[in-house]
Each structure stands twice: as structure tokens, then as C-alpha cells.
């Protein structure tokens, strides 16, 4: 199968690059080996949440300066990061993902464990400290669902109380939720969201209205268990409840994260993009310093050919890189990786310390071309969590690195042709 560009990996980085290229009329094949970590996203994106000393970042440009030279942001340059961050928000908006936030000043989001953390972009409808503070009254009711184990209202209340809010926790139940609980392991946010339509949604809204009737809270926080895709249900519930209503993310597979994935993928498909779903790249043909074709586990030797390729297969979770007992490797194309060669240097004994293995990834040149046997593959660009140099969990930079490097490599490809 022949494309202008083949993108390996359909997480945030892969889809971003795919959309950018498809918007310019390119014929793009997007190879997806299983769902991405976007499904666990809490409806907020991080550009740089914590600096190298692990202090929360307020002013992002200042914190960028202190990053090490091997960090993807340092390679992109501070000016590019700030500019591309606003392009990224625009791209999300074109795909129908509406967000609030700025690339210069972080705002404060509420994590699924109720912790207040810096954020770059937060999805519309998701509670942020800033949106709660803009309310006229500081009394908030946090709605909890009976038997739902992935939401911790007490933790949220404790964080908000420190910020001067008065919080009330109200647990509600409906017959539909009770029925879903009959398979207790399936009482999960994504499953609840799938039944929250039509009458079930209205019954949920009635139960909330009933429960908060005597409450003086002006705003409600409810777990994100209502379909965000197309924001039909999320909006409908807001209207049916009749009070200020914000959603807070839940643990595990996350409804806002799924909605973001669905929106982005549908936008890509609507641009004529082609998805190779459930394909894992297994090997490749190289022609001198170029990659000419990749092969997947599904096509019996039928090659995916393209002028350019993007490697966005992720880190350890996506299996873009794999840790063997003695080395970190990139298993499909044999790309060079960066990781401490002495395995005793991979980990520090304190779990919460900076863990060097987290910065492992594939090695690239200054134009983000992947290295193989020490030299760049001239038509293979790498983006996202697969890249070495960022400790994205600790820094809360995963989404930013994914989108910004993806935009960069897409522009490299567009400018080269």
C-alpha cells in the first residue's frame, strides 16, 4: 500500500502529525497497534507542569530555559515551543476539541486523586481551580455515585477546602446505575458513559436535582461519566440539572480522554486519512539512508510504502521502546536508542526521585530524524513519547512534547517536498 507519509503510532503525537499532513492534502496512512495512553488522559494537557527541581511551573517560558540540552523542547527552541503550543490548541479546536488555557501561564486543574496540579490546556466543561474561583459563591457540592470506585470526592473536597471553598459531598444512585453494578467490575467511567443517554441521562439528572434541592451549593462537581464526544450528553446534563455544573476526571480509563481520541481520529478520517487499525510494525526495508517500506504483522509481506515516515510509537507502554534485561531497544526498525548503558544507573532507590530510565527513548538529530547505526534516516522523523530526553510523567510534559514535536516533524515533511 502506498502513501505520501506513513505514521507509525496513533497516540497524540501520531494523530497530530497525521492531521497536520492530511490538512495539507497529503495521503496519510496511520498505523495503530492498540489504543493509546490518551484513553487515560484526565481531560487536561501538560506542556511543562514541573521544572527540573520538580517545582510547579507558573511561567512556562522561564522554566523552558532551564531544561537540559537533550530535552525535545531544547531541540525545538523556546520560541518555537511557545508558538507551536498555540498552533496545537488551534489544531485541537479544528478537530472539535475545545480547551481553555495558555502556553505562557499554567492554570490549575484537579487531578483524579483530587490534587491541584498545573496544566496547559483543559477541556471545556472540566473543572479547574480558576473556573471555580470565578464563581460568585464558594460553596461546592461534589456528587458521588453509589458503588463507583474510581472517584474520590473526599480528596477533592480536602484540596478545595484549603483554597477556601466550602464543600458538601452528596452520593446519589439511580436504578440504571444499580443495574450496571450487577457486574461490579464493570462499574467504570467509560461503561457508565455508554449508558448515560436518553432516559437514563434524564433519570440521572433528576436524581442530582433531588439530591441537591436543599443544598446551598451554587456549583456542582460531578465525575466525568457522561459522554463528552460531540458534547451532546455533557451539555444536556448541564441543562437538565439547572445549576452550574463542572466535570472532574476519574481514575482508570477516562471519558474525556476517550472523547479527545475519538474526536481527533474522526477529524483525521474526515480529511481522507487512512487508518491501519490493529497493525504492529515488525520490520522495514532501508535503501541507503532512506526508509523505503515498513511491514506489519497483518499484511503477509504486503509493504507500506511512503516518501516519508513518522515514528510515533510511544514509549514503554506503547512499545515504541522495549526494556530488555540489559538494554533499551527499538524493536521494529532497529533505531538507535538513548538510555544509560549501565543498567544499575536506570533506577534510583527512592521511587519518587528522578528515575533516569524514564528519559530513555530513540535518538534523533537536530531535525528530529531518527538515528540508525549512528546516522540519520533522512525520511524518518520521530515524535512524541518515543523520543529520548523528556521525563514526561515527572515534568507533566507528555502532551506538549507529543503535539509540538509532531507539528515540527509534519512541517519538516511539508517543507522538504
Amino acid at each position: 500500500m502506498k502513501f505520501d507519509t506513513v505514521i507509525i503510532g496513533a497516540g497524540l503525537a501520531g494523530i497530530t502529525a497525521a492531521i497536520r499532513l492530511a490538512e495539507e492534502g497529503k495521503n496519510v496512512g496511520l498505523v495503530s497497534a492498540g489504543r493509546s495512553s490518551m484513553h487515560f488522559n484526565s481531560g487536561a494537557l501538560g506542556l511543562l507542569g514541573f521544572d527540573t527541581d520538580h517545582h510547579p511551573v507558573d511561567d512556562v517560558p522561564t522554566a523552558l530555559v532551564s531544561l537540559l540540552p537533550d530535552h525535545p523542547y531544547s531541540k525545538l527552541g523556546d520560541a518555537y515551543v511557545t508558538r507551536a503550543a498555540s498552533d496545537a490548541a488551534d489544531l485541537l479546536r479544528r478537530a472539535g476539541v475545545r480547551t481553555v488555557g495558555s502556553a505562557v501561564h499554567n492554570h490549575t486543574r484537579i487531578s483524579p486523586l483530587g490534587i491541584l496540579r498545573p496544566a496547559w490546556l483543559t477541556l471545556d466543561n472540566i473543572a479547574t481551580l480558576d473556573s471555580l474561583k470565578s464563581l460568585s459563591e464558594s460553596c461546592v457540592a461534589i456528587i458521588s455515585l453509589a458503588g463507583f470506585l474510581d472517584f474520590y470526592p473526599r480528596f477533592i473536597a480536602s484540596s478545595l477546602e484549603k483554597e477556601g471553598f466550602r464543600c458538601e459531598i452528596i452520593t446519589i444512585d439511580t436504578p440504571e446505575l444499580k443495574a450496571l453494578r450487577s457486574s461490579e467490575t464493570e462499574m467504570r467511567a467509560a461503561n457508565i458513559a455508554r449508558i448515560m443517554q436518553g432516559d437514563t441521562l434524564l433519570s440521572f439528572a433528576r436524581a442530582i436535582r433531588e439530591a441537591v434541592r436543599t443544598s446551598e451549593a451554587t456549583a456542582l462537581i460531578i465525575p466525568a461519566v457522561v459522554n463528552f464526544d460531540g458534547d451532546g450528553e455533557a451539555l444536556r446534563l448541564r441543562k437538565a440539572v439547572g445549576r452550574q455544573l463542572f466535570y472532574a476526571p476519574t481514575m482508570g480509563v477516562s471519558v474525556p480522554g476517550i472523547a479527545m481520541h475519538t474526536r481527533l481520529l474522526r477529524y483525521f478520517l474526515s480529511l481522507g486519512g487512512r487508518l491501519l487499525n490493529g497493525h504492529r510494525v515488525t520490520s522495514a526495508d532501508f535503501d541507503g539512508d532512506k526508509l523505503s517500506a515498513v511491514y506489519t504483522d497483518k499484511f503477509d509481506g504486503d509493504a507500506l510504502r511512503a516518501d516519508n515516515f513518522v515514528f510515533a510509537a510511544g514509549s514503554f507502554f506503547g512499545r515504541g521502546i522495549v526494556a530488555l534485561p540489559d538494554a533499551v531497544i527499538e524493536p521494529s526498525l532497529g533505531l538507535d536508542t538513548f538510555a544509560p548503558s549501565d543498567t544499575s544507573q536506570w533506577h534510583k532507590p527512592d521511587l519518587f526521585d528522578r528515575q533516569p530510565i524514564m528519559k530513555a527513548g530513540i535518538a534523533v538529530d537536530d531535525r528530529f530524524r531518527a538515528l540508525r547505526n549512528g546516522s540519520p534516516v533522512t525520511n524518518l522523523f520521530a515524535a512524541g513519547a518515543a523520543l529520548a530526553g523528556a521525563d514526561s510523567v515527572r515534568e507533566d510534559s507528555g502532551a506538549g512534547v507529543a503535539m509540538l514535536t509532531a507539528l515540527y516533524v509534519a512541517d519538516e515533511i511539508l517543507n522538504n517536498n
Binding site: R35, S182, R274, G278, R319
Partner: protein
């Protein structure tokens, strides 16, 4: 160290990181709360079942075997296989008369085609449906596919077989039960299309039902018997000069390629790459420049493509999408990924009827909203389900290609003088 790298468990189950992404795509969970979901029924429960089969749950029968969980899994865990294997290994009861009848497609098809008009009329009669519902548990809402008066094989032997050896390339056709007993028109379209690009078509020496219905109804012994016959016939066809053995049904193809080794333990590695879908074979030959398709100027259709679950599992969706969108007069709408809900014999069972329709509902709604000229899909049971549940007709991509083809121009473009 090698032990650590190479100690791979059955169906990769120990690779599960408990991320629960599989539960997001399971079509059954949101509509049938009795089903414990793919993670619990699959790798989570498997850890316990390895110790004691008391942890097996009869509710696993609500699994559709759609394998959408496997496509979604980022860790390559074969979740659907784990659940089906557990059902086969641990279910105490014997498969019922109804399940056996639904699964014995060859037997039922052979009997029914002898007197098709009578059978078709009888199966459509309300009292008969009522009795089947009450006595057998075959849901009375379900419409049975009509049986053909003349089997595809009979038509082929009479009308087409003698001409095939003259074509420059040769393939064998695994027509499957549906083409043979119910819908020979698809088989005829296949032969016309392939002949037009210079490919001669042969039948396998012996062909039995692929066995998907037997496997999912736990009739493993019977399925294995048929599978061995099919694999022998495939080997004979390949060694006899066929370039490939092609199916037009995504599920037949999936069963021969993947369910045989995974669920029946039959080694098909020698012929697996030769067994493929007709659309895949065509797409590859078109790309390599070996064949050309020329389409009619006057063909204008708005087509909605539905991706069958097993098509997605094979990773073949882009073959059909690519071919359909290569027809100049076609406006192709790719429907959102959504299981149609029938899953072969699953939707015929009374206890599953409502689940089945609830699963398919978003798909049916989208089809009605899109209002295409017709729907295209590679699976016959998806076709029955969509035709029963919407106002649309459904065709296989091979039929669409044959319908849109300018036969004379195509034969000329492929330098055929036959």
C-alpha cells in the same frame, strides 16, 4: 535471561497491564450488565481459572467473539481467544440441539437447498417462527437468510468451470456456506470479476464450512474435522498451481487463517499467507501493476461502508476501502466502527436477541441518517443484520466492483482475448 524473554504464556495473557482499554470497546458490556466484561472474563479471570475452573462463569457465553478487545489491546493480549478457550474448556453442559443446528451450516444448507422454496416459505411463517422460538430458543424476530434453489457449486460446474484453465493466472475460491446455499450471486460476481482481469477461478477439491459457528458453539471436534479437510484442500490447491485461496467472507477468511491455529491448535503456517480475502489479492495485484480495473463512466453511487469486526481484526479494512474509493463515481462514507450485533449465530439465540439489536442500534441509526444508495460490507451475517434492521440493501465489495466494472474495457486493459 532467555527464560524471561521467551516465556510467553498462552494468548499472551501475562502481558496484560490491567489498563482496561478492552472494556471501552466491548460491544456487550454496556447493553448486558450480566456480562463480566473482557478484562474480567479474559486475562484477569484466567489467572484464577489456571488454578481452579470454579472461577469460570457461565455468563462468558454473552461474549460475541468479535475480537474488538484484541484490536484495542496495546499489549497484544488475545483477550477474545482467552474467553472462547475458557468457554470451550470449562462449560459443563453439552451444546444444545439448537446450537448444533445453527452451527451445522453444511448439513442444514444441503437439506434446505433441495427444496428451497418450501423451506424459505416455511421459515418465514409466523407459526413456525413461534414454534422455533418456544421450543428451540431461536428468536422469532429473526429473519432467516433465504436458501437458493441452485447451489453456487452446481452453477459453477455447469457454467463456468470448463473455461477457467485458459486464464493466465489461477486462484481457488473458498466460497463459504453463504455463497453456496444462500447467495450464489456473490460467487458469480466473483468469477466474472476475476475472469475479467485474467484470473481463472477454481473450487477447492473439498470444501467444508469454515467452522466459525461450530467453534463459537463449542463443537470443537466437529470443527476440527472440517478444518482438517479444508486445510488439506488448500494445500492441494496451492501445490496444484493456485496462487492463492481467496474468500469473499471476512469471517471465513479470519477463521481459516487465525482461528484454526489459535482455537483448534491446527498448524496452518505453511499456507496461511496464501489464504486471503479477494479484495486483498486484488488490491495487491493492482498496486504491483499486474492487473487493471476499468470502471463504467455512468456508475454513480453513494455507498456507506461498514467494517465487520473480523475484517478489523485481520487488519484488512483498508483493502476494501481503498478499492471502493478507487471507483470514480463512488462517494464512500466509512461508517463509525460499531459491531452490528449479530455475531453469526449469536443473534439468532433468543437470550441474545435484545442484546444483539441494542449493540447494533448506533450503527443502524447512522445508516438511516447517512441515507446511502446502499451499504457495503465484507461479512454475510452483518449483511443479514443490517438488512433486517434498516431499510438498506447490503452488498459485498466484490459485487460492487463487478457491478461498477466496464467488462470489455477491463478485459482489453488486461490484454485478454479469451
Amino acid at each position: 535471561m532467555d527464560f524471561q524473554n521467551e516465556n510467553i504464556s498462552r494468548y499472551n495473557f501475562e502481558q496484560c497491564t490491567k489498563c482496561t482499554v478492552c472494556t471501552v470497546v466491548c460491544p456487550v458490556t454496556p447493553v448486558n450488565p450480566r456480562y463480566p466484561g473482557p478484562k474480567q472474563a479474559g486475562p484477569d479471570g484466567e489467572r484464577y481459572r489456571l488454578k481452579d475452573s470454579v472461577f469460570f462463569d457461565e455468563a462468558f457465553k454473552y461474549c460475541l467473539n468479535c475480537k474488538r478487545c484484541e484490536v484495542a489491546c496495546p499489549s497484544d493480549v488475545r483477550i477474545g481467544d482467552i474467553i472462547l478457550a475458557a468457554r470451550i474448556a470449562h462449560t459443563k453442559s453439552r451444546p444444545s440441539l439448537r446450537d448444533t443446528m445453527l452451527a451445522e451450516t453444511d448439513l442444514m444448507g444441503s437439506l434446505a437447498t433441495i427444496c428451497a422454496p418450501v423451506v424459505n416459505t416455511t421459515l418465514a411463517m409466523k407459526p413456525v417462527k413461534y414454534i422455533m422460538d418456544r421450543t428451540l430458543g431461536i428468536d422469532s424476530h429473526r429473519r432467516f437468510p433465504k436458501y437458493a434453489g441452485t447451489k453456487f457449486v452446481t452453477w459453477f460446474r455447469r457454467n463456468a468451470e470448463s473455461l477457467q484453465a485458459d486464464y493466465p493466472r489461477q486462484v481457488s475460491y473458498f466460497h463459504g456456506c453463504y455463497v453456496n446455499y444462500n447467495y450464489p450471486d456473490l460467487g458469480k460476481a466473483f468469477v466474472r470479476l476475476f475472469n475479467a482481469v485474467g484470473v481463472g477461478v477454481h473450487l477447492l477439491d473439498r470444501e467444508r464450512c469454515c467452522g466459525v459457528a461450530k467453534i463459537s458453539n463449542r463443537l470443537v471436534k466437529e470443527a476440527t474435522r472440517d478444518a482438517k479437510i479444508n486445510l488439506d484442500a488448500v494445500r492441494k490447491a496451492i501445490s496444484g498451481g493456485s496462487e492463492a485461496v481467496l474468500a469473499t467472507s471476512s469471517t471465513c477468511c479470519f477463521t481459516l487463517r487465525d482461528e484454526y491455529p489459535h482455537m483448534l491448535g491446527l498448524d496452518n503456517a505453511d499456507v496461511r499467507p496464501s489464504i486471503t480475502l479477494a479484495v486483498a489479492y486484488l488490491a495487491r495485484l493492482i498496486e504491483s501493476g499486474d492487473i487493471k480495473l476499468v470502471f463504467r463512466d455512468d456508475y454513480r453511487r453513494r455507498i456507506a461502508y461498514h467494517t465487520p469486526c473480523h475484517m478489523e481484526r485481520m487488519g484488512y479494512t483498508q483493502y476494501s476501502i481503498g478499492l471502493l474509493s478507487s471507483i470514480p463515481g463512488v462517494e464512500l462514507i466509512v461508517l463509525n466502527p460499531n459491531c452490528c450485533g449479530i455475531a453469526g449465530t449469536y443473534g439468532f439465540k433468543k437470550e441474545n436477541y435484545q442484546t444483539s439489536q441494542a449493540i447494533g442500534a448506533p450503527l443502524f441509526e447512522q445508516i438511516e441518517r447517512v441515507r446511502p444508495d446502499f451499504v457495503a460490507t465484507d461479512c454475510e451475517t452483518c449483511k443479514w443484520q443490517i438488512e433486517m434492521s434498516t431499510l438498506q440493501r447490503v452488498y459485498n465489495p466484490i459485487e460492487v466492483l463487478a457491478e461498477a466494472l466496464d467488462f470489455d474495457a477491463t478485459r482489453k486493459a488486461n490484454n485478454l482475448n479469451i
